[in-house]
């Protein structure tokens, strides 16, 4: 293909996106579009799978049968999201095994929030309320993103995430209205999860490398700082409502802006965790790689069995 022809295709492609048309797997797309989507979508899928670990940590210790069932269902939803997103990413020409390989070798990233430990039951509430809350703010705009399979996956994912968020808030509410010990447990969880949740919305706009291109492809519709402000404005009244205190002495309503002003985020901590030195990075990867390696003989057996069955079927057909 000549340079001019490629340019032509690219122009048509960008025009389709501008018209809000969906790009489908068999459509022509620029290589950079494909790679950017593989990166973002697989990162999203990995986040779902690694995200199962901090919450899975409390399944056996959930305080009541009702909470245990809800937590199991939630973590199962996350596995479902992972499956759904891996499949959507496979439409771009990469296999699930390759994506796992990238995760296990540290080439692919996942959301840093899952590198923090879940040390009390209240963390199940805080994760649902804050982490899923921040995830929804990140993800709702993706329901209209340009790549069809991703947009469709996100519609379903967002519905379930919003249920998880309400469930998490309900856990916090129950604790906040409970005994002194329970209230303290809830406040402590908020204290530990608040700042990492703000970091989930990504580095400040000045530091963010992918924003401009992503905006064009509708992989992003608002800047990180705008999303963060939206999250804070939405969450502070929810904390007030259940009598918990946001751990930020600089947090103050700004009448003029119609938004909350907030304190400085510790970006050194953010980059430390992103670079693999958070409290649980090594443990999370060890758990994922361990499950994969321990499962190898099982996957091999399933494959061998399927081949035997296929051979039998072919023999019978002859």
């Amino acid at each position: 293909m000549s340079e001019e022809q490629t340019k032509n295709l690219e122009d048509q492609f960008e025009a389709r996106i501008a018209r809000d048309e969906k790009i489908e797997p068999k459509d022509w797309m620029p290589e950079k579009y494909r790679q950017t989507h593989i990166r973002q979508m697989s990162q999203h899928a990995h986040s779902e799978i690694v995200g199962m670990l901090p919450e899975g940590n409390w399944i056996t210790r959930a305080p009541s049968l009702r909470r245990k069932v809800a937590l199991l269902a939630k973590v199962q939803d996350e596995a479902g999201h992972g499956l759904y997103l891996y499949s959507a990413t496979e439409t771009l020409g990469i296999s699930r095994e390759e994506m796992y390989e990238q995760l296990h070798t540290g080439k692919a990233k996942y959301s840093s929030i899952f590198n923090y430990p879940t040390i009390t039951w209240a963390d199940m509430g805080a994760i649902g309320w804050l982490v899923d809350g921040a995830a929804i703010i990140n993800q709702v705009p993706l329901c209209n993103t340009s790549y069809g399979p991703y947009a469709r996956a996100m519609i379903r994912v967002c519905k379930e995430e919003s249920f998880h968020q309400r469930q998490g808030y309900e856990i916090m509410m129950k604790l906040a209205n409970g005994t002194t010990e329970q209230r303290e447990m809830a406040q402590d969880a908020l204290n530990r999860w608040w700042w990492p949740s703000l970091m989930m919305l990504g580095p400040t706009d000045a530091e963010s490398v992918h924003t401009e291109q992503s905006m064009k492809w509708k992989l992003k519709r608002k800047s990180n700082d705008d999303l963060r402000q939206q999250f804070i404005d939405q969450t502070v009244p929810q904390a007030d409502l259940i009598g918990l205190t946001i751990p930020d002495p600089d947090l103050k309503w700004n009448e003029e802006r119609g938004s909350y002003d907030f304190g400085e985020i510790d970006w050194d901590e953010f980059w430390q965790v992103v670079k693999g030195h958070g409290p649980m990075n090594k443990e999370r990867m060890k758990a994922r790689v361990g499950a994969w390696e321990r499962g190898e003989w099982v996957r091999d057996a399933a494959m061998a069995h399927a081949e035997k069955k296929q051979e039998q079927k072919e023999k019978q057909a002859v």
Partner: protein, 251 residues
């Protein structure tokens, strides 16, 4: 308690689902593939759903202000009535599948009989559960075949797991005093009558999986009377952790 036999009988049924559900819950997020991870979590979810139905009914019968959670999480080790099979650990995926399979075949046959119980609540619960357990049985049987008739390594692991857990199968058909009274009243299931069909169904699947049916005649029992293996205490310390550490609170 007015109807202590019925209460104990329900606990005997529900504790199997409770302890097996808890074991499967340990695996969530650590499965060999996403699909099996989702399936095992799903089975765990079904089992806990069943547990809730049984314990809500048991709490009603006990009528002493205890809740389903009190019954599930605040008994002493010797008061749990599950069979030894379901408390065995997740040694590896073959053990998890073998444990599931050896229980599912029994569970399905048991519920088919419980459906006919004169106790309408138990009959209704059985009707609801049986649909779920039919799926469990299909899942575990399929995996027995896949692993048994997969690679040399998987066959060996599957055989080891079946051999290792075999000793706990006979207890499924052991009758407790509460069982006998419940059978007489037309409420309970005569488990002794399920035994032949059980071993015959198990044998069919094992044959198809190229796994040898163990010949050992030495069996362990005691779970139904609260005498468990050493594994149960650790499982309970996790299950009960929150209720014990923070007593009398709502969650």
């Amino acid at each position: 308690m007015k109807n202590e036999n019925l209460y104990n009988y329900i606990l005997g049924i529900a504790d199997n689902s409770l302890i097996l559900g808890q074991r499967l819950g340990e695996l969530c997020g650590h499965g060999p593939t996403l699909e099996t991870d989702i399936a095992c979590t799903n089975i765990s979810l079904d089992l806990f759903g069943q547990v809730r139905s049984y314990f809500q009914y048991a709490a009603k019968i006990a009528d002493d202000n205890r809740t389903e959670d009190d019954i599930a999480m605040l008994r002493k080790e010797r008061e749990y009535k599950n069979v030894l099979l379901v408390e065995q650990p997740n040694t590896n995926f073959a053990y998890t599948i073998a444990r599931q399979f050896l229980f599912d075949i029994y569970h399905l046959a048991f519920l088919s009989e419980l459906e006919k119980s004169k106790d309408l609540t138990l009959s209704a619960i059985a009707k609801k559960c049986i649909k779920e357990v039919r799926y469990h049985e299909r899942f575990s049987s399929d995996w027995i075949k896949r692993l048994g008739d997969g690679t040399e390594e998987s066959k060996q692991k599957m055989q080891e797991a079946i051999d290792g857990l075999w000793t706990y199968t006979d207890e499924l058909f052991h009758q407790t005093e509460a069982d006998k009274i419940m059978v007489k009243q037309g409420t309970g299931v005569d488990v002794t009558k399920l035994k032949d069909a059980y071993y015959s169904s198990v044998s069919d699947v094992l044959k198809e999986a190229n796994i040898q049916m163990p010949e050992s005649k030495y069996f362990q029992k005691g779970g139904k009377d609260g005498i468990h293996t050493e594994h149960l205490g650790y499982l309970l310390s996790e299950l009960q952790y929150m209720q014990r550490t923070y007593p009398n609170m709502e969650w």
